[in-house]
């Protein structure tokens, strides 16, 4: 862990083998060990080692990084050329059907079965997932209301708008109540209100029941709004695995202050409270608060010393910072040079 000034606080640096194990301490539901996938004579995923345990895991990376390939491999569409992957303890190759029984999948591209009404389409998908006929019908209706397409459920799927098709794809993915939900670019082609609605739905699913989600996206903001863990891929390798929750918690305790008045006495007071204090320049203070000190205590100290707090900022190590840093680190790792 490095100090202030925006360096990584809790983001594990990529290990030489490209591994990450943020979720090792939580009950993890996915595990990759040396996972490599070759497609069309090209290595698309290269020696992935990670465990995932977040409720909602964001799969990030530039185009062509291997996000969709990783999802497809977990779904059993592609066979690993080396290593293995497990989902809920089941091997994705040996027990492919068992794994797929647990998963709901929303593909990136437009996907539907033409010539059917929305509810019939979702019902069929539910039955193919193993739901009995009556349950599938009930759940198809529920899924349509859940995603906000209740009034359009008797329309033919091919007549839906782009946003409605996205929602119908989500409905078919959740209809059978999967334990794990793969959402590949769920906000693709959506206007801002529809995007907001989609993210709200994703958060709703995340916060209900036991379902785990994997959201693959190249839109950092989408991932930031939904996910508590991110797996960042670059060129088929893991660039970083990051627990966003602990990142957010640590950010809340990291402050930049600008004050007017008795600066030295204020610094002494902060140190007496147990804060780590630095002064990058005369105008600004940098403080890391211990767990038992709240921001209100700083205001109390300032009032006691007649010091004005002119500015107080949380350090914001946004997902964009994390992503860019991971990209830089990966680039350094690939070239073998030192920063």
């Amino acid at each position: 862990m490095t100090d202030a000034a925006g360096s990584s606080l809790s983001v594990p640096a990529p290990k030489p083998d490209g591994s990450g194990t943020v979720a090792a301490t939580r009950g993890h539901w996915a595990e990759f060990r040396g996972l490599s996938v070759d497609l069309g004579g090209r290595r698309v995923l290269n020696d992935l080692n990670a465990t995932l345990g977040g409720r909602c895991v964001g799969l990030l990376g530039p185009n062509g990084a291997g996000k969709t390939t990783l999802l497809n491999t977990l779904l059993g569409f592609f066979k690993p050329s080396a290593g293995h992957a497990r989902v809920f303890g089941r091997d994705v190759v040996r027990d492919s059907a068992g794994v797929r029984q647990l998963i709901g999948y929303m593909p990136e591209r437009d996907s539907f079965v033409g010539g059917m009404t929305g509810v019939r389409f979702v019902r069929m998908m539910g039955e193919l997932s193993g739901l009995p006929r009556d349950d599938a019908l009930d759940r198809a209706h529920e899924a349509f209301f859940r995603v906000g397409l209740g009034e359009a459920r008797y329309r033919k799927v091919e007549t839906y708008s782009q946003g409605m098709k996205q929602l119908a794809k989500l409905a078919q993915a959740i209809a059978h109540g999967p334990r794990l939900l793969f959402l590949d670019e769920p906000t693709n082609g959506l206007d801002p209100p529809a995007r907001s609605r989609m993210l709200q739905l994703v958060r709703g699913i995340r916060d209900t029941g036991d379902t785990r989600l994997v959201v693959s996206s190249h839109l950092l903001r989408d991932v930031e709004e939904c996910c508590d863990e991110v797996l960042i891929l670059k060129n088929g390798r893991i660039a970083s695995v990051c627990d966003l929750e602990s990142e957010r918690r640590s950010n809340r305790k990291f402050l930049f202050l600008q004050i007017k008045g008795a600066q030295e006495r204020f610094v002494e007071g902060l140190v007496a409270l147990g804060c780590e204090v630095g002064m990058p320049n005369r105008r600004r203070l940098r403080a890391v608060l211990p767990a038992d000190v709240e921001i209100a205590d700083l205001y109390a100290l300032a009032a006691e010393l007649s010091v004005q707090i002119r500015q107080l900022d949380h350090k914001r190590d946004s997902l964009e910072d994390i992503f860019l840093r991971a990209m830089d680190d990966a680039a350094v790792g690939e070239t073998g040079s030192t920063p």
Partner: protein
């Protein structure tokens, strides 16, 4: 509880068995096929040959004494070789044509739309294998054709056995088995070829034309070759000739001289196997771009 109030919940009840998945695909596709009134009318018309055959069986056995006015024609008809000239041409050959027409109309519409609409990731991300998916589609064609070919054909054979002298069925046991076997072989062969074309062309009208063309052009080339060379090799390109030879053998009718029996089987098996291989290559969740 209102539908609107239900939250997201995992399924806690029982799951259906894996073997039921092809049946789900078949059931939804069958209901989709019958959504077209035109097809329903066409399908009802497909029962016409069986109906006419039933009438002829009735006439043959029951009205003989009342149709003396037909003179020699009726006399000859009732004395004709029962297998070759009557049941074979009355049941099996019309069944082959009906099966061909049904596969021509329905086959190309089964796979092309799924591939065009990118539905394969949705199917294959579920506990459904490629083979189960294909079996579901095949079941659509096998069910549709069975209901208008060998199922009524069996009833006709039973009706004939009922009206004929005692022991007719036992003396001609090859007839029901041959009927079912020939129809299944023919339908499976046609279906797999039609599905393969549908999967590769991905456009229903083109797949229909391609399927039709395969038979028309194959027959034309085969007949031309047969006419110019004077031997039977041209028949290898004519699937109708092949099923005729195989059907006669299974049915127990007089053998055809169109081509040797092993070659007829090979002529049916080769395009079917090739089409099946092509199908397996085409049915995949994602295309890998090299």
């Amino acid at each position: 509880m209102s539908l609107r109030q239900h939250g997201f919940r995992t399924h806690a009840g029982p799951w259906t068995r894996s073997v039921a998945r092809p049946l789900v695909i078949a059931r939804y596709n069958l209901s989709g096929v019958f959504a077209s009134r035109l097809f329903t009318i066409f399908y009802v018309a497909c029962f016409l040959p069986s109906f006419l055959c039933m009438v002829s069986i009735y006439l043959r056995y029951k009205l003989e004494t009342f149709v003396g006015f037909t003179g020699n024609a009726w006399h000859e008809f009732t004395r004709a070789d029962i297998l070759d000239d009557w049941l074979y041409y009355g049941i099996l050959q019309p069944s082959e044509w009906v099966a061909f027409l049904i596969v021509l109309v329905v086959g190309p519409s089964l796979l092309a739309p799924d591939l065009k609409d990118n539905a394969m990731p949705l199917y294959l991300s579920r506990p459904v294998t490629k083979l189960q998916y294909l079996l579901g589609k095949l079941l659509v064609l096998l069910t549709l054709t069975a209901a208008v070919t060998w199922l009524p054909g069996l009833l006709l054979v039973l009706a004939n056995a009922y009206y004929a002298d005692d022991g007719w069925l036992m003396d001609n046991l090859t007839v029901p088995f041959g009927l079912v076997g020939s129809c299944l072989v023919w339908t499976a062969c046609l279906s797999i070829i039609a599905l393969a074309l549908s999967a590769w062309v991905r456009w229903r009208p083109a797949a229909t034309l391609g399927f039709l063309g395969l038979f028309v052009i194959g027959s034309a080339i085969g007949n031309l070759f047969r006419a110019t060379s004077g031997d039977w090799y041209g028949s290898l390109l004519i699937l109708w000739d092949a099923i005729d030879v195989v059907g006669r053998d299974l049915f127990g009718a007089n053998p055809s001289e169109l081509m040797p029996l092993p070659w007829a089987w090979a002529s049916l098996a080769a395009p079917t196997a090739l089409s099946f291989w092509a199908l397996l290559r085409r049915i995949r969740a994602y295309e890998v771009v090299r």
